[in-house]
């Protein structure tokens, strides 16, 4: 599938966005909680406007969402973007069925011991 001929898939967009190390660091800073631009830039050697620009790319790639809380604009990770990326990497049904098999076998071995 040629990228020039076909619109990039969601996973393509996510991977392209992660190609930049600063964007990966910004994304990591959102892993555990939502933050404002100022909170993200705090402690990084990147200006606020640059952080805003990177956030815009992450948003367009479906990896980050922005929402308002009072007068503040807060950024958080978009779980659907992660689902697309994980599916692209690991395969939706292979991952789910492997986990199911393990759970069913744990249950069967519990019952045998009873």
């Amino acid at each position: 599938m040629s990228r020039t001929a076909v619109a990039a898939t969601r996973a393509d967009k996510a991977l392209d966005a992660f190609g930049d190390p600063t964007r990966r660091r910004i994304f990591e800073r959102l892993r555990h909680r939502t933050r404002s631009v100022g909170e993200i830039a705090d402690g990084m050697d990147v200006s606020r406007p640059a952080v805003s620009q990177h956030l815009k790319v992450l948003q367009q790639a479906g990896l980050v969402v922005v929402f308002s809380q009072g007068t503040r604009r807060l950024y958080s990770i978009e779980p659907r973007g992660i689902a697309a990326l994980r599916g692209w990497l690991d395969g939706f049904w292979d991952e789910a069925l492997t986990a199911f098999k393990e759970a069913a076998e744990r249950e069967a071995s519990r019952e045998r011991k009873r």
Binding site: M1, L15, G87, A103
Partner: protein, 167 residues
């Protein structure tokens, strides 16, 4: 261990997977349907804003299939189309290519539980009617069909690293 794909898995509108489970069909059925929340990869395959803490299939034809968030919210994934314990289950999967619920999507998942001796079950899963994804069918089929492949993942990171070094 990976779920195996059928050799002739080339229908563009469906994905076919099978796995051998060391558990009798009744146990496999129960874990699949009643305890889905204990094994479904809820941290990734979920659509709600809240952290997903359970996945529920209501045990009857027409029943809902949905995720439960830690804030008490629920998000529908689909419906039960066929309920034949402990051997056959058909669900509609109504999550679109943007990972949002669309009750009109109606792709179908059929799961068959086939006894293999007294203590094992072959579980066959077909995810079909992927043509409902329209122009995004191939993108979605790839996601459903991909076999977990760490080699490919590592190769991708190696390529990315090389790109950055050459910048």
């Amino acid at each position: 261990m990976k779920a195996q794909s059928m050799p002739a898995n080339d229908n563009p509108n469906s994905v076919w997977k099978t796995t051998l489970v060391q558990a009798p069909p009744a146990v496999a059925w129960r874990v699949f349907t009643e305890r889905m929340g204990t094994w479904w990869p809820l941290s990734v395959y979920k659509i709600g804003k809240a952290n997903a803490v359970d996945a529920v299939i209501e045990p009857r034809v027409g029943g809902r299939w949905y995720e439960c968030g830690d804030d008490g919210s629920t998000c529908d994934w689909g419906r039960v189309l066929l309920w034949e314990p402990p051997s056959r289950l058909v669900l509609s999967y109504d999550i679109n290519a943007d990972w949002q619920y669309d009750p009109d999507l109606k792709t179908e998942i059929e799961v068959r539980f086939i006894a293999k001796g007294e203590s094992a079950t072959r579980v066959e899963l077909e995810h079909r009617k992927l043509d409902r994804y329209g122009a995004r069918r191939d993108e979605m089929r790839r996601i459903f069909n991909t076999e977990g492949d760490w080699g490919r993942l590592l190769a991708m990171f190696a390529a990315r690293a090389a790109e950055e070094v050459s910048r």
